[in-house]
Amino acid sequence: MAGDGYPASILSQQLLVGVAEELKLPLLQIARQLELAQLNGSTNLATVQATAQTALQLLDNYVLGVRLALEPQHFPLEAVSVSSVLYDASQQLDAFAKSYGVSLELNIAGKYGPVLANKQGLQAALVSVGAALIEAIPALEGNQQLKLHLATHRSRYGIIAGVYADTKKLSNEALQKGRRLQGRSRQPLLNLSQSNGAGIFVADAILHAMDLHLMASRHHRLHGLGTVLQSNHQLQLV
């Protein structure tokens, strides 16, 4: 893990400002939904709850990213089942996805064996990216399929775990440009998100603190963001 020094990506004021800006949206959604209830006498409580829960998750994940960078000794690498992490992430995202009319699909078929990661950190990163994409998918023009896939597959670099959608707008170029613009632009991921995409940068920071990298990836015909994980060979020999 990135234990020496404090990675600028995590402690940067830009990321904190990004998270604060990002939290305006769920708070605004809750405020307007409650106002609508006062005006019309009806509101969707499930949506309000999912919105609040996801906002809390973003805060938790930001704090986890900071702690991973500052106290890596408390977050050891361990043998982790990718399938299990993706399943748990999909459970965490389920209600939020429903509120955006996005259906979740889990593609975890195949035997991958354990990988080396910190389970809490990996799951938080996948949930952060997933929530950001759930918000973005309905707003992408020409995107007919409101579906987010949480998937894993084997590549020549290792085992990739990520979140995928039917859009070509998830590319390494877009991600790199976003990293450069983070904190300087209101929309660093212009082709992907109407907000500042804090969830993606929080995931980026969490993975960075675990010596992993967020990157563009493909799963069959789908495009997405994921990370390469290394198999835990030691455990497989046991």
Binding site: L25, R32, Q33, E35, T47, S99, A139
Partner: protein, 129 residues
């Protein structure tokens, strides 16, 4: 029936605004998430008023406005900007938005209640009648 073209990228907020605006039974909301679909919707549905978020994916609200106002038949349709962008950030461009692009009102989304939005729609719909 009045037709309002709502250009709002967030699906949850769009649904809330749509329900609030349509509650009077006299207004129909055409809700779209981006600039391109907004132009197509304007062409097909002939809205009486537009509510616009400036922060959209890919093409910005400003790009939409330039395109929208380039058609003679849409030049007098009232456009209300309701956005997450604070006024201070485009203060210098306000004369452009108001003067050249005919924006009738600016509303900072986080501090604009549904009542204020409905009141603004009513005010600017009346202006054109």
């Amino acid at each position: 029936m009045n037709k309002v073209l709502l250009i709002e990228p967030d699906r949850v907020l769009a649904e809330v605004y749509k329900r609030a605006i349509e509650a009077d039974g006299l207004t129909e909301v055409i809700s779209v998430t981006g600039a391109q679909t907004a132009i197509m919707a304007a062409d097909q549905r002939k809205p009486d008023l537009v509510i616009l978020e400036l922060q959209l994916i890919e093409h910005s609200g400003l790009e939409f406005l330039y395109e929208f106002r380039s058609y003679p038949e849409w030049q007098s349709i009232p456009v209300l900007v309701q956005t997450m962008v604070p006024f201070a950030e485009f203060n210098d461009n306000w004369h452009l938005l108001r003067g050249e692009l005919g924006v009738r009102a600016y509303m900072y989304k986080p501090s604009t209640s549904l009542r204020q939005l409905l009141s603004s729609i009513k005010e600017h719909s009346l202006v054109t009648q």
